[in-house]
């Protein structure tokens, strides 16, 4: 249950607001540099900065992470996601499935051919999740104006007290995502699935998430009981958040009565089942327990419909690695040989030959959830560099060179990849185990 907060994944996966137009280099001693990264490899990072006549050469072991200016927002929400056998995640658009390779498109590169044998899973049909609320914005009806104000897309705490919002009925499974920042410390309650705008221990069916300096706790409040039923609790270490901010996502699976809380899009903090079932209320309440003004800010806040079934499939056990497999959106799973697809053809379906039908099944692309391809036990292809891409993509790299707004990345499995420079969100070193003699 104890989470391992990784600043590396936080930096790569998170949505920490980086507004600067230059690359930012965070060194292991806490120092920061800005400029333009020219080259990265196993040994060093070259930085072009107006402060020096020549490019600065930094030993890579002294670099903690690099944050690049944020990529264009329209590059997010890709409809497919390739997970390679080394764990790399590559958001993309599926163009075709061939005998040996799949072809994918991205907004920041020419079409890529990825050998099927290097793919652990291919998730398709990902739709931009329907947004139920995106804010806060000035003039919105957030209650509790004396305790909070809306400013620059965030709620700013003014002292102790709640601020609540009702996005209307939420009948489906949903995800609530928000960025929390704090000045000195944090002491925040978040009530959700609530019918009331009032915080406190009254008898009511809803959840209370407590975010305190050193811990995070999820309670189930009940209309039938006097006390909170704790669904889970994890420690927090403020040292893991040197920028005094993180992003939380609460995922609520109504069908399975399941709640999951993720940190910075990567780390699962809590995974709980509510035996009483998910309450029907739709109100969201942020309650500050700090007296001083501007102690915390919450925002942006994003509430989206969520399809938990699609999320479950890529994490399924691979099964027999010598056959391909297709999982449809109903959860059916067919083992066999995936013959191919043409995503832009009129039929737009995936063909799979199983042992149980004389002719191939044609599964319409919009019915496909996840594909597995048979693969060999090759080297896992882990490299010393990790690069963050749009839409929470994450790939390994041996080296990265920049030239004319292009990034040439040497990938351990796919070879040289050329991306537009703006596609890179962040970069960090990965500790590799020592090589065996």
């Amino acid at each position: 249950m104890t989470p391992k907060f990784s600043s590396l994944t936080s930096a790569l996966m998170g949505l920490v607001a980086i507004t600067a137009s230059a690359d930012q280099i965070l060194l292991t001693d806490g120092s920061r540099l800005t400029g333009e990264v020219v080259t990265l490899d196993r040994e060093q990072l070259s930085l072009r900065t107006p402060l020096a006549q020549e490019d600065l050469g930094l030993k890579l072991e002294g670099v903690r992470e690099v944050n690049f200016p944020p990529p264009p927002e329209e590059w997010a929400d890709q409809s497919a996601r390739v997970v390679l056998i080394n764990g790399d995640v590559f958001p993309c658009e599926l163009k075709a499935i061939g005998d040996e390779t799949i072809t994918v498109n991205t907004a920041y590169s020419s079409p890529l051919d990825v050998p099927r044998r290097l793919i652990r899973s291919l998730q398709v049909g990902l739709q931009p999740r329907r947004i139920l609320y995106d804010g806060p914005q000035a003039g919105e009806e957030w209650s509790g104006p004396s305790a909070w104000r809306v400013e620059n897309g965030a709620l700013i705490s003014l002292g102790r007290g709640p601020s609540a919002f009702d996005p209307g009925s939420i009948s489906s499974s949903f995800s609530l995502q928000f960025q929390l920042k704090w000045a000195r410390t944090t002491n925040l309650e978040v009530y959700f699935c609530s019918a009331s705008e009032s915080p406190g221990p009254q008898k009511e069916d809803r959840y209370r998430l407590q975010i305190r300096n050193h811990r995070l706790r999820l309670d189930r409040q009940s209309s039938r009981q006097n006390t909170f039923d704790t669904l889970g609790e994890v420690p927090l270490n403020p040292a893991d958040f040197p920028q005094s901010t993180f992003q939380l996502e609460i995922r609520v699976d109504r069908d399975r009565h399941h709640l999951k809380i993720q940190l910075d899009d990567a780390e699962v903090l809590l995974d709980a089942v509510d035996r009483q079932g998910i309450p029907e209320g739709s109100k969201i309440v942020f309650n500050s327990l700090i007296n001083e003004p501007e102690a915390m800010s919450v925002g942006p806040i994003l509430l989206r419909a969520w399809n938990p079934i699609r999320d479950r499939h890529p994490n399924e056990e691979r099964g027999d690695p010598t056959v391909d497999a297709l999982i449809d959106i109903d959860g059916q799973r067919f083992g066999g040989k995936i013959l191919g697809s043409q995503a832009d053809s009129p039929s737009n379906s995936v063909e799979i030959q199983t042992d149980f039908s004389p002719s191939p099944l044609h599964v319409p692309m919009d019915r496909v959830s996840t594909l597995f391809f048979c693969h060999s036990d090759e080297a896992t292809g882990r490299s010393p560099l990790l690069i963050g891409l749009p839409d929470t993509g994450l790939i390994s790299a041996e080296s990265c060179h920049f030239e004319n707004q292009q990034a040439r990345i040497l990938h351990p499995l796919l070879g040289e990849l050329t991306f537009r420079r703006e596609a890179l969100r962040a970069l960090a070193r990965r500790q590799l185990p020592p090589e065996e003699p």
Binding site: T2, L231, R256, E317, D320, G331, S357
Partner: protein
């Protein structure tokens, strides 16, 4: 009745070579041999010291354990059909169409079952060899104090052990003893159990236990006193994995002894620790373990709940193969039934979380593939499914389970009202009103099967009292 009495000397002679039956009445129990049931509703009980046998009204009878729950003719049939009333018919599926299913059962002959009465089929339910099914008797089970617990005068004087076997169940009514049984769990196993409780006590479930006793202490008295002592779990189960269930919090523990004899006990970390029970007073737990891959997965009421990864532990003694239960420091009652240990094919079985309200479901034995649609037929050991993309024809030997859309198991509140439940080994339960019975057969009027004649040689238990009598005082110690 007259016919039964004429056969009495023969029955007694034949029965003398096999273990006695046990008749449990509402006010006591009696060894002897089951002689049958007359059409008038009298149970005939045969004993050497009663020349004409004894006759009992059925309403006084709780159950009859046949041959010490050691069936004469164990069928070995794992394939079974689940009915909507909770009955489980062991047998081989012969054919099925949209109206009825035909099966050949070693205990009930050929049965024709209306589809409306069927909840699911399990042609190959466990994907492997059955290691243990029970507890049909107390044989080979051990009720003991943890090895490090000195028997207190109170414990020594206690007349009632913490665990009592009754019917096909173990009951816990408070006490420090643990319940355990040596087995040879395979390295890839399914361990399934049904638990009932009033107020759920904390339960320790030991598996892969070797019940190793603490090594003898060495050195002088001072050194012995300073030596670390095993905790309750290690003293109870030795080198073992322990599933701890406390309310809806669940944890996995590895305990045992290091190579140098020092006891240890530690929790296995995972991301989740809570489970969801569908009902407040009962649950089916299933633990799937793959020691080769180092994984343990818990399912509750058929749904995936928690997964653990075991770490390599070269410094520790290896695990054993036994199972056991303990309820430390609590006196709330617990019933354990439907225990099953079987080999497993090692697939985590994502198929079990598959569900569709309007379609029949087929789960394959490979543990991953599953299809939905409408079952068209079973013929020539093949099942045909009309699916959304094509018709599929699947060999029956590749099918683990079939679930029929909208057919839920809804057991009646009780057996009672003159009905009888016959339990078979290794799987099977058939209920119905008794028409008549002899020493090795019974004729029941089943509400779903009409009249059915059962071969009691593979039966282990005849139960008259409602199965849900756990809360009633008759089972109190």
């Amino acid at each position: 009745m007259i016919r039964l009495l004429l056969l009495l000397p023969l029955i007694l002679g034949m029965a003398s070579a096999e273990p006695p039956d046990l008749l449990r009445l509402s006010d006591g129990s009696l060894e002897g041999h089951f002689g049958g049931i007359t059409p008038e509703g009298k149970l005939l009980w045969l004993r050497d010291d009663a020349d004409n046998g004894l006759s009992f009204n059925l309403d006084r009878i709780q159950h009859v354990a046949l041959r010490g729950a050691q069936p004469q003719g164990v069928t070995g049939e794992l394939s079974h059909v689940f009915l909507t009333n909770g009955d489980c018919l062991p047998g081989t599926i012969v054919s099925m169409d949209r109206d009825q299913l035909v099966m050949e059962s070693a205990v009930a002959g050929q049965l024709t079952i209306p589809i409306s009465a069927i909840a699911s089929l399990a042609p190959n339910p466990f994907g492997g060899r059955l290691i243990y099914a029970g507890p049909f008797d107390a044989e080979a089970w051990e009720i003991t104090l943890p090895a490090s617990t000195d028997p207190t005068p109170e414990a020594q004087e206690s007349k009632t052990p913490a665990w009592q076997h009754s019917g096909g169940d173990w009951y816990y009514h408070g006490g420090p003893e643990i319940l355990r049984r040596a087995l040879s769990m395979p390295r890839q196993s399914v361990f399934r159990m049904h638990l009932d409780w009033r107020a759920m006590p904390p339960v320790m479930i030991g598996f892969y236990s070797d019940f190793m006793a603490p090594p003898p202490l060495e050195g002088d008295e001072e050194a012995q006193q300073a030596a670390p002592r095993p905790d309750f779990t290690t003293a109870s189960f030795g080198n073992s994995l322990i599933l701890n269930v406390r309310g809806n919090y669940v944890s996995l523990q590895r305990c045992g002894y290091e190579k140098d004899g020092r006891p240890f006990s530690r929790m296995i970390r995972t991301d989740a620790s809570t489970v969801q029970f569908r009902k407040r007073d009962e649950a089916e737990l299933e633990i799937r373990t793959d020691l080769d891959e180092g994984t343990v997965t818990l399912y509750v009421d058929g749904s995936y709940m928690i997964h653990w990864n075991l770490e390599e532990e070269e410094n520790f003694q290896p695990l054993g193969g036994g199972i056991g239960f303990g309820v430390p420091g609590n006196h709330d009652s617990l019933r354990i039934s439907n225990l099953l240990v079987a080999e497993w094919n090692g697939m985590p079985d994502a198929a079990r979380s598959f569900d569709h309200a309007d379609r029949d479901l087929i789960l394959l034995t490979n543990g991953t593939d599953r299809f939905s649609g409408e079952i068209v037929s079973i013929q020539d050991r093949r099942i045909t499914l009309s699916g959304p993309y094509a018709d599929l024809t699947i060999p029956l030997h590749e099918v683990a389970e079939v679930h029929l859309a909208g057919h839920q198991v809804e057991p009646p509140e009780s057996i009672g009202n003159g009905s009888l439940a016959v339990f078979f080994q290794p799987v099977g339960r058939i209920t119905g009103k008794i028409r008549e019975a002899g020493p090795d057969h019974a004729v029941l009027d089943s509400p779903l099967l009409n009249q059915v004649r059962l071969d009691l040689r593979a039966a282990s238990l005849l139960e008259y009292q409602p199965a849900g009598q756990f809360l009633n005082p008759w089972d109190e110690p």
